[in-house]
Symmetry: C2
DNA sequence: TTGGCAATGCGTTACTATGACACAATGGTA
DNA sequence: TACCATTGTGTCATAGTAACGCATTGCCAA
């Protein structure tokens, strides 16, 4: 089946497979070069950037849909995701972004479920940057990591969704441990501190940070220091899986 | 139009007016006789209790739908509501509860959008018990306040939804002021304390509670004490609207 | 009329958490 | 080999919290 045929099929018959009016958008965060990144897609024709999203199959749990979408774009599996907000303004799914498709695929706007109104549920995921192999979807030319502070114009209300996700992530930081998926297996204290500073977008005191993160008990110090660095070599740490998972569920008081 | 005709119409043609597959359920909390109450409906035929819910009109914001539903059941307007979670298990909307309708209204299950799968968004509202005049909807026999600790068997997954709403409310308590809609205009310190104790389901120290709630600045002490009570008369307080609203947006640190 | 009493208002103390900062240890580099 | 940026550990003042004491109030019973 040719590319355009597949796309046309999706526009004309997708509603036989998916629920109408509901979509899922994923905000996939990663950490690299001391910067917080988001995985975005560049839309064909319009050229604007958008969040990786998709639809819910007729007999599929919404959480599963989110995980499926994550896997399709990143190859990753078994990642902790959570919904954070529903975006439901009736004017949010403007037809504008779809105009180019109309011409290309040769459809009228009243022929396809894709031009109906959509309410979307936002999901966040924190993933290991190095393990992701970005794959674009049929609506997009590329799938790339973008620096959270250098996001160009985005589709529809995706910018609002992203902002809300960031707020949510910053709040989460006080209650849930963060880092297991964002950091490599072994990491140093300055590295995890930089992660927290990047997410919260503010400087933290080195010594107070160490005291607090240690006191949560989710870290184990390895008997190994980082090699080949100038100045004093920092210890390597890794997460204590048992306590990390416990803290994920029970929560940790952790105000920064 | 007769009652059954209207109902039949809703089942057969409701999808022309509302979005398919999406519903909204409201968890409406009130406070009375030192007890936390929830407004529930008793379903016809099945007899089970359910949350006040409804659907989203094709060009309506979901928040507006929730407010409309609240108003229809309580008569109240301008109430602060917020979404807290989306319930999306494919098996959640069982057809079982609708079986009785089938017989009564004379429909086959494949004839109506109402028998399709629904994903529902939960909204919470805190309202003034004394100002509510419960009105049942077309699917229900009565609409009543039920004590949060004495809830009988509920429809579908409504029990799970209610539990999640309670958890959410308890968390909210630490960040947002609560009480403006739940308490009468004038109230005493023991009364607002009892409210907090009821929601959190635990005893709080009288003196520490007073110190903290005062320190938030959201209360104004009136120059008036409660009359006709045995023992020492407590002062009346009311909320400082300006600071209350500010705390609603900005949040207050308030761990109990 | 008056003293008891239960509830409220106000205060104290010990402890813990937090923010700000000092100083010693380390190990590559000039 | 001395330097020095960076890390590891510790200190201190302060704020916030939990636990509890005591005086005050005002109805009620004797």
């Amino acid at each position: 089946m040719s590319y355009d045929k597949a796309l046309r099929d999706h526009y004309l018959k997708g509603h036989e497979k998916y629920l109408r009016h509901i979509s899922v958008d994923c905000i996939i965060f990663g950490f690299h070069d001391n910067e917080l990144k988001v995985l975005l897609l560049q839309a064909k024709y319009a050229g604007l950037w958008g969040l990786p999203g998709g639809f819910i199959k007729k007999e599929e749990h919404m959480d599963e849909a989110a995980k499926r979408i994550l896997k399709e774009r990143t190859g990753l599996d078994e990642i902790y995701m959570q919904q954070f907000y529903v975006f439901s303004a009736p004017e949010r799914s403007t037809r504008k972004a779809n105009q180019q498709f109309l011409k290309t695929v040769g459809l009228k706007s009243n022929e396809s479920w894709m031009f109906e109104r959509f309410i979307t549920v936002g999901y966040t995921a924190l993933v290991d940057f190095s393990k992701v192999e970005p794959v674009a979807d049929v609506f997009s030319t590329t799938c790339e990591w973008l620096n959270i502070h250098e996001i160009p114009e985005m589709l529809l209300d995706h910018r609002d969704i992203l902002n809300k996700a960031l707020e949510d992530l910053q709040l989460q930081l006080n209650y849930h441990p963060v880092g297991y998926n964002l950091l490599p297996e072994k990491f140093t204290m300055p590295e995890i501190q930089k992660l927290y500073e990047t997410i919260l977008d503010k400087k933290l005191d080195r010594r107070n940070f160490q005291r607090k993160i240690i006191s949560t008990g989710i870290l184990k110090r390895l008997n190994e220091t980082k090699k080949g660095v100038a100045h004093k070599a920092p210890w390597y740490y890794k997460f204590d899986q048992r306590k990390y998972q416990k803290a994920l569920k029970g929560g940790i008081g952790f105000e920064l």
